[in-house]
Amino acid sequence: MVPLTWYLILAAFMFSSGLFATLGRRNAIAVLMGIELMLNAANINLIAFWRYGVAPTENLDGQIFALFVIAVAAAEVAIGLALVISVYRNRRTVHLDDLDILKG
């Protein structure tokens, strides 16, 4: 069997990459991709802790939360991309550095 630590390390790596994409990428779509990566990392942890928890056949909370995360991520990405396309239509850019009209 795979040690639980391996799952945690993989999830930590994916979370960190997602974090960097969210904080450091210029393109709004890349930022959304980073958020998806972070959600996936969280899901890997949820599944891993479900698998290594007590009585995995009865305690399904980890799987249920993972399913909720998947569904919410789908909703989030639909709205996020709609916003990106709307912004692109109005401002002709999706670079977050250029979207600064609220700056005083």
Binding site: M1, V2, P3, L4, W6, L8, I9, L10, A12, F13, M14, F15, S16, S17, G18, L19, F20, A21, L23, G24, R25, R26, N27, I29, A30, M33, E36, L37, N40, I47, A48, W50, R51, A55, P56, T57, E58, L60, Q63, I64, A66, L67, I70, A71, A73, A74, A75, V77, A78, I79, L81, A82, L83, I85, Y88, R89, V94, H95, L96, D97
Partner: protein
């Protein structure tokens, strides 16, 4: 030889080898998301990372989640992202860097996060093996049961959220002219 944060087993078993292969795919995918200059290649890396996550779920014997992951993430979310990239593709190329002004700070924060997370996984006696799962059918039945019993309110709310998101996405993205 430096001490590893986890004890290496002497000989990897088959599932460990499979996990390592999947993990390499996921890691390369997430690196492509972060580093690729071409945004479409980032999206392909994202797909690889999604497949990696699905493989990890299947290694962890959560087949239902793994298959749902492929269905939702690869089938719907990646497609949406690829569509958005193509619709805004004027922004894809050009002389500008793919990273923004705060990317230096972001890199420091990211590395710090990774280090802290790694430090947290050390020193805790994590279990090396879960209880064996005999019948995978029971899990699916249990999931269905949970969704219409103790989790029925979140489930209905989730359905409403998806409906609202669907309508909202159409309203936001529609061309009003």
């Amino acid at each position: 030889m430096p001490e590893l944060p986890f004890p290496l087993p002497p000989l990897p078993t088959v599932s460990q080898v499979v996990f390592l292969m999947i993990a390499v795919l996921a890691v390369l995918g997430s690196l492509a998301v972060v580093l690729a200059r071409n945004l479409f290649h980032s999206a392909l890396g994202l797909v690889a990372a999604f497949f990696g996550a699905a493989g990890v779920y299947i290694v962890a014997e959560a087949e239902f989640i793994g298959v749902s992951q492929v269905l939702v993430y690869v089938g719907a979310i990646s497609t949406l992202i690829a569509f958005a990239i193509m619709l805004t593709r004027g922004m894809m190329f050009g002389a500008t860097s793919p990273r923004n002004r705060q990317s230096g700070t972001a890199a420091i924060i990211t590395v710090l996060t990774f280090v802290v997370l790694m430090a947290l996984t050390r020193g805790i006696p994590w279990p090396h093996a879960g209880e064996p799962i005999v019948d995978g059918q029971l899990i699916i039945a249990g999931l269905g049961h949970a969704f219409v019993n103790e989790y029925v309110v979140p489930f209905v709310l989730l359905a409403m959220l998806l409906l609202v998101a669907l309508a909202g996405a159409i309203v936001v993205a529609r061309d009003r002219k």
